[in-house]
Point group: C2
Chain length 349, copies 2
């Protein structure tokens, strides 16, 4: 089969396109998925670079678990496709179903929601024509009105956004700031928060404003300007929640922009992970910073429901064939278009 092999932690040249990989077989309790689409995500790029650091050593070359991943590895956290083979003990009626793969692996029986591995990091992922996962990881989306390409936008971006909004307990009528709002997780958070009935203030650049308003943002703040001033002018009494995937210097603003009992929920830090926090701004007003990775099983099931009812409307910026992965990641990092970058794998169905 065709697959993109990651040979080591490093730059784009560590990604090698091969056409001679052996198709993996589904073991007991597993299914094999013929992949039709994946998408480009920061996490695949950070895992390639080993950009996650380690406890006590922020610059260590490591995957998200704080240690290097094992090579060769097929990356690709987002996977949509059809079930093409089932292992022993798996219901045969799953065959031919169109499925969305939950990329979170949860193998700690004492903490069933703990993410212990991720598709494309601890096990081979979707940058290949076939992948094998536990049968419990696939969710039927045969009847979703969304295309495979649209479905491939969901697992990481919308799963992460769903996890963040849920962990921050966002509810109807609350005010929510979303940073990096034109990116995958950001755009998903704008749509999901608006669908929950929240008032969304999206932080982005003017070129994305129209798309963000169409996705449900009530206000679009220009990150090139004075964000604190812009936010105070539209939400003078502060906001309930900040959904942040940016981190960096801008992070210092957020605690004082929150109401009493407000929450910053963080799932990434594209502008830099090491930030400065004035603890007084947290403790004097019972504010909190909540870390969030991906989603729980229950949160993913809610996302699958939204996919099956067509309640979400993923925006696609561009499509590339899998073999053009390096070009796709370069396009993604350029961030000039709104929405997700799709990788087409095998045939679209």
């Amino acid at each position: 089969m065709q697959a993109v092999i990651l040979t080591a932690h490093g730059g784009p040249d560590c990604l090698v396109v091969r056409d001679d990989r052996i198709i993996p077989g589904a073991g007991s309790g597993q299914v094999r998925v013929a992949v039709s689409a994946s998408s480009v995500n920061n996490t695949d790029i950070w895992t390639r670079e080993g950009a996650y650091g380690a406890p006590g050593n922020p610059t260590a070359i490591a995957g998200w678990r704080g240690v290097p991943i094992r090579f060769p590895r097929i990356q690709g956290i987002d996977a949509v496709g059809h079930i093409d083979s089932v292992g022993s003990g798996v219901d045969g009626s799953l065959l031919e179903r169109r499925v969305l793969v939950d990329p979170a692996i949860r193998e700690n029986p004492e903490q069933p929601d703990e993410v212990t591995g991720v598709l494309g990091s601890e096990i081979d992922g979707a940058f290949a024509e076939y992948l094998v996962v536990d049968a419990g990881s696939v969710h039927d989306v045969s009847h979703s009105p969304l295309t495979d390409a649209q479905l491939a936008c969901l697992p990481t971006a919308y799963g992460t956004a769903m996890g963040m909004l849920d962990r921050a307990e966002v509810s109807r009528g609350e005010t929510v700031v979303v940073t990096g709002a034109s990116g995958g997780v950001g755009m998903a958070a704008v749509q999901l928060a608006a669908a929950l009935g929240a008032v969304v203030c999206a932080v982005s650049t003017p070129q994305h404003e129209e798309n963000l308003r169409r996705s449900g943002a009530s206000f679009v703040l220009d990150r090139g300007g004075d964000i604190a001033e812009q936010l105070r002018s539209v939400q003078p009494s502060g906001v309930n929640v900040v959904v942040d995937v940016v981190g960096g210097e801008m992070f210092e603003l957020w605690p004082s922009m929150l109401k009493v009992d407000g929450c910053i929920v963080v799932a990434g830090a594209v502008a830099g992970p090491v930030v400065s926090v004035d603890l007084r701004q947290l403790y004097l007003a019972q504010r909190r910073i909540v870390g969030s990775t991906l989603h729980t099983r229950r949160q993913f099931e809610r996302l699958v429901d939204l996919a099956n009812t067509g309640t979400v409307d993923p925006v696609i910026a561009a499509r590339f064939p899998l073999a053009d992965i390096r070009k796709a990641q370069r396009y993604f990092l350029d961030k000039s278009e709104t929405g997700k970058v799709i990788l087409e794998v095998g045939r679209e169905t």
Copy 2:
């Protein structure tokens, strides 16, 4: 009456002892308390100094609400005494009751647990022979086996510790680190966490070890040594909760010392409020930093129950007459003894 007047934000010389203050009268819905004891707390010192900073301006001279307080002010957040007069509309049977004053003022009907003011900061407090508060702020401790001096240890130190443990959802069998463990809030957190059935690792200095073990600490870590190494040797898989009132450089350690889903709860920052956080250590393991100030009404009621059943055992380091407030605060800041520093006001009963 005798009272200590704070004349401006500044050093100890801004505290002036006076014997000619007019005794305040209880208005409608209020009670007057003849104060018998108070105690020394960081918050009174920080309020005197104006050391709370302001949003966007960490070095601004301000009270805890981010603006200067109004002068002259009678400080004193902890208050124990007898009800000596009641205003109109207040049940006369409260007269002569021994009471503990809840120092948190909550005047936002939309957020009934929001602390909008604090005794000794927004209204006159316990550094005087008499104070006036709303009748809803006093709690009957007439039948508590604790002395007035012991009761005066409770509101801020134990109230804050109770709020922290509750907001961090500490439960039986969990592992809890307590920093600044020989201080007022720290010692209270050690006792209350041990009473909840948690395994307590106290961070302090060797001279306080015996007192901390007697208060329920299973392990005492020397903050002069390598804390990460000491903690890993007794809790190799990490801890559930860090109860922190220290902040400063040591704060950088805590995120990576937590288990997945772990929590750092913060109510102060004696070693410095502006800290560095690696957001990856939060988001990759769903860890959170929760700010906590004082306590809710319900948490204070639980504390009053513990006082009335004698379940808590406050440790007293020293006692000073109110007029020696400057000497008492100097002794407190020296931190050589374990426990609370009591201010004796009026007659002990």
